[in-house]
C-alpha cells in the first residue's frame, strides 16, 4: 500500500522547498506546488493526499479559495494553513470551514511536523473508515429484500414470532433468514448486528 502523501502549496520558492524538505524528514512522500490550481490539476495527488500544507495569500486562486473548491468536490483532506499575515477574521473563517490548523509564519517547525503527523493519522483513519463503510454497505447490499425485512425486525428488537407474524411467514423461515443475515453481515451476535446497522445508518446520513 502507498505511504500517505503530503502536499505543499506555497508561491514562495524558498518556503515551499524548506517545508518539503522538513516533511521528508518525517518519511512521507511530498509533492510541492507553486499555486492552488497546479494542485487541483494533479488528480493522483488529490486521490492520495493525506495532508495539505497551504499558504493563504497567493497569486491566482488563494488558499481560502482552494479550501472552498475541495469542500465542494467532497474532498475532506486535512488542511494546515500557513500565513505571513494572520489576521483574526481570516483565521476564524478558515477554521470554521474545517481547516485542521492555522500557523503564523515563521513557525516552530516541530509544531508543523506534529500537526502533519496528526493530520495524516486523521486522514488515514477517515480513509479506513470510509473503506470499512463501503465494505459494510456492500454486505448490506448483498441481502435479499426478505432478509432485509427480517434484519429490520431484529434491529427493532422484535422476537422471531413477532417478525414471522408481521411478515406472514413461518418462524422457521424467519430463523433461516436470520442465520443468513448474520452470515452475510459477518456478525456473531445480535448485539453486534444492531451496532453495525445503527452505525451504518448514521454514517449513511
Amino acid at each position: 500500500m502507498n505511504r500517505p502523501l503530503v502536499c505543499v502549496v506555497d508561491d514562495d520558492d524558498a518556503v515551499r522547498l524548506s517545508i518539503g524538505l522538513l516533511v521528508e524528514t518525517l518519511g512521507f512522500p511530498v509533492r510541492c506546488y507553486r499555486g492552488a490550481v497546479d494542485f487541483l490539476n494533479d488528480g493522483e495527488a488529490l486521490e492520495r493526499a493525506h495532508c495539505l500544507v497551504l499558504d493563504v495569500r497567493m497569486p491566482g486562486l488563494s488558499g481560502v479559495g482552494l479550501q472552498d473548491r475541495l469542500g465542494r468536490i467532497g474532498q475532506r483532506l486535512p488542511i494546515i494553513f500557513v500565513s505571513a499575515h494572520g489576521d483574526v477574521p481570516m483565521v476564524a473563517r478558515v477554521m470554521r470551514e474545517g481547516a485542521f490548523d492555522f500557523l503564523q509564519k515563521p513557525f516552530n517547525e516541530q509544531v508543523l511536523l506534529d500537526r502533519i503527523n496528526e493530520a495524516v493519522q486523521v486522514a488515514a483513519q477517515r480513509r479506513q473508515e470510509g473503506a470499512r463503510w463501503t465494505e459494510i454497505q456492500g454486505r448490506l447490499d448483498g441481502l435479499t429484500a426478505r432478509e432485509r425485512d427480517v434484519m429490520d425486525g431484529m434491529v427493532a428488537g422484535r422476537l422471531n414470532k413477532q417478525i414471522a407474524e408481521g411478515l406472514g411467514i413461518s418462524i422457521k423461515t424467519v430463523e433461516q433468514h436470520r442465520a443468513r443475515v448474520m452470515e452475510k453481515l459477518q456478525v456473531e451476535s445480535l448485539a453486534e448486528l444492531v451496532r453495525l446497522v445503527i452505525e451504518a445508518r448514521y454514517h449513511a446520513d
Binding site: A14, L21, L22, H85, Q104, P106, N108, E109
Partner: protein
C-alpha cells in the same frame, strides 16, 4: 632752415610754453611720419619720467571702457566729418591707476586729396574734477535708492567705523528713542538674533565682494523691550575708495514681523502634515515588510531545522555544529516575533504585558549581542540593581528597545580612539518608576539629530531609515513610561527610559 621757418618754430615754441604754464599740455602729431610730440607735462601727469614717456602710445594707455568712444571721435575729426576733436578718457598711469584726461585737437594740414597730414591739440588733467562728479552722481543714486524704498526705514552705515545712522521709522520699529545717539555696531551685530547672524553676515559679504549687486536679507532685531522682530533689509554700497574698497552702505529696512509669523506658522503646519503622512506610511510599510520578511524567516527556520535533523543522523560527529544551528533557528523565530510585534505596534494592538525581571531582559540582550560588541571592541559594563527590579512590560518589545539602544551605542563608538564602554544601569527612580540608562563613550549626538533624536526618518547612518529611536520611544510610551536623552557631550551619550513596576 629758412628765417621764415625759424620764426614759425619760435612762434610755436612760445605758444607751447604759454599753454604748459597754464596747466595744459600740447601735442603735435605728424600723420605722415607717425611721429608725435607731447609736452613733458604728459609724462609727469601719468607718473613717468621724460625718458620713459617718449615710447608711450596713447591707444595702449586708454581705459578699455573709453577706447571705442575716443577712437570714434578721433576718426570723425581726421576724416573731416567733425571739425574738432574733443574727448574725455582715462589713461593708465605708471602706478596702475587710471587718470581722467580731457583732450582737444584739430587737423591743421591736409594734402590735395584731403588726407590729414598734421594734427595739433591740447590736453588737460581733469581727474579731480571728475572725482567730484562721481561723488555727485553717487549722491544722486543714493537718493534714488532711498526713494525706491518708499515708506521703508532708512539706514546709512560707514563700514570702517561701524557708525550707523537710522531714520525715525527705523527707530520706531525697534522702539529706539529718537534722541538716543547711536554708536558703531549698535544696530548690527549688537541687536541681531544670534541664530540670524550667520545668514546676515553671508548676505552682506556676498554684496561686499561683488557676488550680489545688493544686500537683501531677513533677520530678527532685538527691540528695546528685549523681544525680537523680523525685518527685511536691502542695502547697497554707495561709496568706495580708489581701490574700490567699500566705505559706505545705505539701505532700507521693512518690518515684516507679522507677515513672517504667519508664513512660519504655515510652514510648521505643513511640516507637521508631512510628518503625519510619513507616519501613516510607516503602518503600510511595516505591514508589507512583515510579509516580505516572514517568508525568508520561515525558510531560514525550516532549513536550519532540516539541517539539524540531518545532523542527528551523523551522530556525535556533528555536535560542534548543532549548537550554532540551533541558535540560527531560534533567532529566525525571534526575528519573526519582532516583525509581528512591529506590525502589532503600528496597528495599535493592545500590549501584552506581564511582570518581567528587568535584569533578564538585559542579560538576554547582552548574550545575543555579545558577538557584535566583541567585533567592535566594545566592553559591556553592567550596573544593575540587585535583586533585580521588576517591571510591567512585554519582554520581547523591551528587548527590542534595549538592543536598538545598544546597537546605536556600538555604532557611536565605531570611530573613537579611546576606551569603548557600553554601560547599562538600572535603578528605582524617585517617582517609583524603574529607570534604565544606556551610555556610550562615543563622540556625542550629531548636530543633525541633537534637537530631536527620536524624530522619525532622521538619521546619521548612511543606510538607516531613522525609525529605530522613534519606535523605541513609542514602545516605552505605550508601556506608560518615558524615554529621554540624559546627556550628550563629546565624551558620550546617555539614553534613559523609565518603566512602571508591576501593580500591587
Amino acid at each position: 632752415m629758412s628765417a621764415v621757418s625759424a620764426d614759425l618754430a619760435e612762434d610755436e615754441e612760445r605758444w607751447r610754453l604759454a599753454l604748459e604754464v597754464a596747466g595744459e599740455g600740447v601735442w603735435d602729431w605728424n600723420l605722415h611720419s607717425g611721429q608725435i610730440y607731447r609736452s613733458p607735462l604728459w609724462g609727469e601727469m601719468l607718473g613717468y619720467s621724460s625718458e620713459d614717456s617718449t615710447g608711450l602710445k596713447w591707444g595702449e594707455l586708454l581705459h578699455p571702457d573709453d577706447r571705442e568712444e575716443a577712437h570714434h571721435r578721433l576718426s570723425a575729426c581726421l576724416s573731416g566729418a567733425s571739425p574738432d576733436f574733443a574727448a574725455e578718457f582715462r589713461l593708465l598711469c605708471k602706478n596702475g591707476e587710471y587718470r581722467w584726461v580731457a583732450s582737444r585737437g584739430r587737423v591743421v594740414a591736409r594734402d590735395a586729396s584731403g588726407r590729414p597730414g598734421r594734427m595739433v591739440g591740447v590736453y588737460r588733467d581733469i581727474h579731480e574734477a571728475h572725482s567730484l562728479m562721481d561723488a555727485l552722481q553717487a549722491s544722486e543714486r543714493l537718493w534714488q535708492f532711498a526713494l525706491e524704498g518708499h515708506g521703508d526705514a532708512l539706514w546709512d552705515w560707514t563700514l570702517e567705523s561701524g557708525v550707523i545712522n537710522v531714520s525715525q521709522t527705523f527707530r520706531a520699529i525697534i522702539g529706539l528713542p529718537a534722541d538716543r545717539p547711536l554708536r558703531g555696531n549698535d544696530i548690527w551685530p549688537a541687536r541681531l538674533h544670534p541664530d540670524d547672524v550667520r545668514g546676515a553676515v553671508a548676505a552682506f559679504s556676498a554684496h561686499l565682494v561683488g557676488v550680489r549687486s545688493i544686500t537683501e536679507v531677513e533677520f530678527r532685531l532685538r527691540t528695546e523691550e528685549g523681544a525680537y522682530r523680523w525685518v527685511a533689509l536691502r542695502g547697497k554700497i554707495m561709496e568706495r575708495d580708489r581701490n574700490s574698497k567699500p566705505l559706505r552702505m545705505i539701505g532700507t529696512v521693512r518690518d515684516v514681523h507679522d507677515h513672517y509669523l504667519s508664513v512660519e506658522r504655515e510652514m510648521r503646519q505643513q511640516q507637521e502634515l508631512a510628518r503625519a503622512a510619513r507616519l501613516i506610511h510607516v503602518g503600510e510599510m511595516a505591514s508589507a515588510l512583515a510579509h516580505e520578511l516572514n517568508q525568508p524567516l520561515t525558510a531560514l527556520r525550516n532549513f536550519s531545522a532540516v539541517a539539524l535533523r540531518r545532523l542527528d543522523e551523523l551522530g556525535a560527529s556533528g555536535d560542534g555544529i548543532r549548537e550554532p544551528l540551533q541558535l540560527i533557528a531560534e533567532q529566525a523565530l525571534r526575528a519573526g516575533e519582532i516583525v509581528h510585534r512591529v506590525r502589532g505596534f503600528v496597528r495599535r494592538d493592545s500590549l501584552l504585558t506581564a511582570p518581567i525581571t528587568i535584569n533578564d531582559v538585559i542579560n538576554d540582550v547582552v548574550r545575543f549581542m555579545e558577538f557584535e560588541a566583541r567585533a567592535h571592541a566594545v566592553q559591556w559594563q553592567l550596573a544593575l540593581a540587585e535583586p533585580s527590579l521588576q517591571v510591567q512590560g512585554d519582554q520581547l518589545q523591551l528587548e527590542q528597545v534595549l538592543s536598538n539602544l545598544a546597537k546605536n551605542a556600538i555604532d557611536a563608538m565605531s570611530e573613537i580612539e579611546g576606551e569603548r564602554l557600553l554601560q547599562v544601569a538600572t535603578r528605582l527612580g524617585p517617582d517609583g518608576m524603574v529607570e534604565m540608562a544606556v551610555s556610550d563613550s562615543g563622540g556625542g549626538l550629531a548636530d543633525t539629530v541633537r534637537d530631536d533624536p527620536f524624530a522619525p526618518f532622521v538619521t546619521t547612518k548612511p543606510d538607516g531609515v531613522g525609525l529605530g529611536l522613534a519606535i523605541c520611544r513609542t514602545i516605552i510610551e505605550n508601556h506608560g513610561g518615558r524615554m529621554w536623552v540624559e546627556k550628550s557631550t563629546r565624551r558620550g551619550t546617555t539614553f534613559c527610559l523609565s518603566l512602571p513596576q508591576p501593580a500591587g
